[in-house]
Amino acid sequence: MNDTMSATEHQDYSTAPQATTSNPPEIEHEVVIEIDDVNFSYDKKKDVLQDITLDLRKNEVTAFIGPSGCGKSTLLRCMNRMNDLIPNAGLTKGEIRILGTDIHAPEVDVIELRKHVGMVFQKYNPFPKSIYENVAYGLRIQGIKNKAILDEAVETSLISAGLWEEVKDRLDASGLGLSGGQQQRLCIARTIAVQPKIILMDEPCSALDPLSTATIEDLITKLKHDFTIAIVTHNMQQATRVSDKTAFFYLGELIEFSDTTKLFTNPSVKATEDYISGRFG
């Protein structure tokens, strides 16, 4: 996909996404994540997600929107099984397939899964280590000790995350000494250093100022050439700016899922229209 958006255009909030992104894509991308009729519960009693069916395609950005508590973050965390950390939580129905494999199958190693499905959290949380070690962390835990490989991975990841120019002279400084936006980009660099197939982003910009947000959004549109991205956001402008597809959730159900332009300009469900026009949420 040929994306020509630039940072300056991000600040113009009224501008609709450009024609190239708004047109339905000619090529149907390969499906990477299939969410097939999934129910999810935190306590094995009440389902917080119901009958979710959704496909995420390669090299696309899919935005999850909806009011707080609608289950969009929960769904995101299902995709790399982060919910495993919560006792008693789990799918009660359906399955999630990534690259054709059911991720809850008994032979699946959750650690291997997470290496392929990276995640960026709402609150940026660099490890209390140097910038270099933060980015190299994922490789180090895989047992890579070769300095040359690590150096290269750190550099390319930081370049991809658009942070290289700002930190290349102080790679040994603490990751906690960076500004908020830089720390979030450091976390993105850390995630992409292990070369995942998919990156899950859980409200990556909600704790950032508008300028940093613009930088991150710019980064997301660049990253989708190499990765499949799912992003949870409360900011509907952000969804229109960065995503190709948008899914609207309400009370644990998937209300509408379609191309971003279509969903925002011509929603087919009333609830979606009410939500995007700010009547609730």
């Binding site: 790399n80 982060m82 950390l85 650690i111 291997e112 899964l113 997470r114 290496k115 990276g118 995640m119 959290f121 609150k123 949380n125 490890f127 209390p128 280590k129 140097s130 962390y137 994922g138 180090r140 835990i141 895989q142 603490s174 906690l176 976390c187 850390r190 995630t191 292990v194």
Partner: protein, 676 residues
């Protein structure tokens, strides 16, 4: 709004309520709390001043003491004595080697005999009250038999009376014989009871391991030699004969070795008696010096007494006595001259001794049969090779020596902080060097830390990161409960349980490769270190667990999202993130260990000597004394204001400053680590 102040009356913003001496209740409460806080600080300052005041005076006093040590010539004599020390070391190592060789041939018999004697003496002493009773019975029986015999022989004056007497005695005799038989039976039962107990073998000297048959033999022999039996059990008799026969053969084959050793020990005799003479002179000098240093005080005291005397005659007597006090300063140059005059003679003796050692040591066997002999002979060779150096050193020191050489101010400082001897109440001269106590404290603390830190950190990680809620609720209070055990109780446990257990474990043959095993002592550095580790665990565990708990959950979540396992997350993210808190925990634990007194006093063995580091890591199986222990032990018995008293205060000051340094460096480390 009806009670609004009237327009002509100005509003007063005056404080209402309680007021005393111009201060309100709020102020009084504030000052009450402030007063409590400052009280703590005042007490702290008082303690510091007190310690410093009592402690610092030690150095001038010690300097004076050391100066006296020099002026009286005792220092000179100690220099001369050094060669004898070195010779003694060589001689005793050679002796150990000789006896190891000698006893090797009859080791089997000797081991059994030694076990037989230890077990026998234990059983006999355990039944000693009955045995004593039996002895009294036997004496009484003998008396009665004597009397009976006498009566039977004596011409009967009054037939009836005599017969009645005989009858009476016979009844008594019978009674005693019965009692005696009964007691013998009881004693035998007790013997059997004791011998059936497996713990009886704990009385046997460590290092002796008997086969099953030998143990049987020992038990039978001990049972055989019950009170009243003079003869040894035949097999034991045989063993004794065998042992002495074998020893005889061995003695013959080792005759050359023996004669060399005898010659070696004879070689030092002239030097020994010579130095003894020197010591007598120096001791006399020291008495003079002591007399002089107390004379002034006595003189002053008597004069003061005369002023307060009630009657004129008393006053006169006091003044007379004061006048009689000999206050002349001893002429140190004069009284040390006889010592210096003998330097040449000492040198001559030294040269002869060196020659003898150089001649005799090569005559010692080169290839002894036993490991112990080989080790000791090697030591002998090394020390003998070094002997000329020691002799030369001692000669030079004696040549350089001058009774009037001034000590610099730092002399006492050096003698205290680097002194290798802590000797009090000595007839020769007291020394207060902190080094033996410091090394003891340090070794014990290091062992305690080395054990406690991994143990408590692992426990903290487990409880905080891996344990289920139920496990947490059990483990945490259990570990914290350790802190509630009074240290004297732990010391008890250390003496009775841990000490014995450690020694028994160390005697297992399969573990003899561990340095320092088998252990001769129960009360050792190792024992104290282990107990202190146990005491430090709650402190380190609780603080480390808190530190781990303070690591944000999000950090580990991030790590999991990167594909890290639980273990990787703990080791690479959670643990490093909490490192500052963990270091603080360890340092606080260290402070707890260094300051602990009761346990080390009870368990460390209290031997004031720098541990012998030539054993390597095995050094921990030796006893030691500690800085805290020595204060607790000796402070109750010293005269207030004496040199010894000052020395103990200085030890306290050193402890105090150690704690200060630990705390200070802890804060520095924390600041450095908080960068990340």
């Amino acid at each position: 709004m009806s009670d609004q102040p009237q327009a002509d009356e100005p509003i007063k913003f005056r404080r209402k309520g309680f007021k005393f001496l111009g201060l309100g209740l709020q102020e009084y409460i504030k000052y009450f709390f402030g007063g409590n806080a400052s009280l703590a600080i005042i007490v702290l300052v008082l303690i510091c001043t007190f310690l410093l005041k009592e402690g610092i005076a030690f150095f001038p006093d010690y300097n004076k003491e050391l100066r006296e040590y020099r002026q009286t010539g005792q220092e000179f004599v100690d220099y001369a004595d050094r060669q004898i020390d070195a010779h003694t070391r060589i001689n005793s190592d050679a002796n150990i080697a000789y006896y190891a060789e000698l006893n090797q041939s009859s080791k089997f018999e000797d081991d059994i005999l030694s076990a037989y004697r230890s077990v026998g003496s234990f059983v006999r002493s355990a039944t000693s009250s009955e045995t004593d009773q039996l002895k009294r019975y036997t004496e009484r029986i003998e008396d009665l038999e004597d009397n009976l015999a006498k009566l039977a022989e004596a011409p009967a004056t009054d037939e009836i009376d005599g017969r009645a007497q005989i009858q009476q005695l016979a009844v008594e005799l019978d009674d005693y014989q019965q009692r005696s038989e009964k007691l013998k039976g009881e004693i035998l039962t007790h013997f059997r009871l004791h011998l059936a107990n497996e713990s009886i073998w704990e009385n046997v000297r460590p290092g002796i391991h008997l086969s099953k048959e030998s143990k049987e033999l020992v038990l039978t022999a001990v049972l055989h030699k019950q009170p009243g039996v003079k003869e040894e059990y035949p097999e034991i008799k045989q063993l004794m004969a065998d042992s002495s026969a074998k020893k005889k053969v061995a003695t013959e084959s080792l005759a050359e070795f023996k004669s060399t050793i005898t010659a070696l020990s004879k070689a030092v005799r002239p030097m020994k008696s010579f130095v003894r003479d020197l010591k007598d002179i120096a001791s006399e000098n020291a008495r003079e010096a002591k007399k002089f240093s107390t004379a002034e005080l006595r003189y002053d005291a008597l004069l003061k007494g005369s002023e307060k005397a009630a009657t004129e005659s008393d006053k006169q007597r006091f003044i007379e006595q004061a006048g009689a006090v000999d206050r002349t300063k001893p002429n140190f140059e004069e009284i040390t001259k006889p010592l210096i005059a003998k330097t040449d003679e000492h040198n001559k003796l030294s040269v002869e001794l060196q020659k003898e050692i150089a001649r005799l040591v090569p005559l010692l066997p080169k290839n002894p049969a036993t490991e112990s002999a080989r080790e000791n002979l090697q030591k002998v060779q090394g020390n003998a090779a070094n002997f000329p150096n020691i002799a030369e050193e001692s000669r030079e020191e004696m040549m350089d020596w001058n009774f009037d050489k001034k000590n610099s101010v730092f002399h006492a400082l050096g003698a205290f902080f680097f002194g290798k001897h802590w000797i009090s109440n000595s007839s020769w001269r007291d020394f207060y060097g902190i080094l033996p106590l410091f090394t003891g404290s340090l070794l014990i603390a290091l062992i305690a830390l080395a054990v406690a830190v991994p143990f408590s950190l692992a426990a903290a990680i487990y409880v905080n990161q891996l344990a289920s809620r139920r496990e947490q609720n059990f483990i945490k209070p259990a570990i914290e409960f350790i802190g509630a055990i009074p240290s004297v109780v732990l010391g008890f446990f250390g003496i009775l349980v841990l000490g014995t257990a450690l020694r028994n474990v160390s005697q297992i043959e399969a573990l003899s490769w561990i340095p320092g095993f088998p252990m001769a002592e129960r009360l050792t550095i190792l024992n104290a270190g282990l107990l202190l580790a146990f005491m430090a665990v709650p402190t380190i565990f609780t603080l480390a667990e808190d530190a781990l708990n303070n690591v944000p959950q999000a950090l580990s979540e991030n790590s999991f999202a990167m594909g890290a396992s639980k273990l990787q997350t703990i080791l690479r993210v959670v643990f490093p993130a909490s490192i500052s808190g963990i270091i603080a925990a360890v340092l606080l634990g260290f402070g707890r260990i260094v300051g602990e007194t009761m346990v080390v006093l009870l368990v460390a063995g209290n031997k004031i000597k720098i541990p012998d580091f030539t054993e390597g890591i095995g050094v921990v199986t030796q006893p030691a004394h500690t800085m805290t222990g020595i204060i607790a032990q000796e402070l109750g018995e010293v005269d207030k204001g004496s040199l010894h008293w000052g020395a103990l205060f200085m030890v306290g000051l050193v402890l105090f400053f150690m704690s200060l340094v630990i705390n200070f460096s802890a804060q520095r480390i924390l600041k450095k680590l908080q960068k990340f």
